[in-house]
């Protein structure tokens, strides 16, 4: 299974765009990437879930863990998600109250859709393991 993790910078925000399926197999890579960003000093992280096809509680755990880590550094984690099937798991678990969820990266970083040009600084981690 492919998990794509792309990092870009939007002003003081690091944007981590996640693609593919987040489950017990792929979650460790996702967790590591988040931890890496925090240790690089990125304390305002937007996680863009628009490219995610599947996410279960393992993925929620990574996000909760990331949020805790960031808050302990005085930072924060913002989610971008409009897919109802993904939002549903946040709602059921009460996590909509814990995360700030935005409809777009622009909205998350407080810019209008015309303030664009995100500079891609990250890599694309396409793993060929799994399905």
């Amino acid at each position: 299974m492919d998990l794509g993790l792309d990092v870009s910078e939007r002003g003081r925000y690091a944007v981590l765009s996640v693609h593919g399926e987040v489950d017990v197999y792929t979650a460790p890579r996702f967790r590591e990437r988040l931890i890496e960003l925090v240790s690089e000093g990125k304390h305002q992280i937007v996680v863009d879930l628009e490219g995610v096809d599947f996410l279960d509680s393992t993925g929620l755990g990574v996000l909760v863990g990331g949020l805790k880590r960031l808050r302990s550094h005085g930072g924060d984690l913002y989610l971008v998600c409009t897919q109802s099937r993904i939002l549903k798991v946040f709602e059921i678990t009460g996590l909509t109250k814990v995360f700030s969820i935005y409809e777009s990266v622009d909205q998350a970083v407080g810019e209008s859709p015309t303030d664009l040009a995100a500079e891609t600084i990250g890599e694309r981690a396409d793993d060929s393991g799994g399905y």
Binding site: D23, Y25, K68, K88, G94, K97
Partner: protein, 147 residues
Amino acid sequence: MVDEEVALEIPARAEFVALARLVVSALAATDSQLADERVDDLKIAVSEACTNAIEAHDLVATEERVRVRCRAAERGLEVSVEDRGPGFDPSGLPDHPPVTDPDRLKFERGLGIPLIRALVDEVEITSSGDGTAVRLVMLHAADDVAD
């Protein structure tokens, strides 16, 4: 639709959970009485149950495979996830604090079974020292179900 059972046995490894989802969703997709959204919900529940089963096998270091059985029945789609792990007491799981409680953040884990219960119409967990079976039923034309 066929009232017969498909069984899948997977090694108790994280990389095979996607295969269990694939098989269940391929079967569910042929069930015209299950909306796509309900198939998505079932996939999440199957993923949670398989993840727990694999973790359970890890605990007892067994080489046995996790078994996923799937049957399209009259009343709905039935899936069972069976492991040979140490078993547990499902009624003994801690309650989650209310959604507004700041303690919510403690819960990096423990969301799997609550999700299963919320997403699937019928959930039956049978557990003993020999292992656990989680039986999930997604009913045909069921109304949305609350937790």
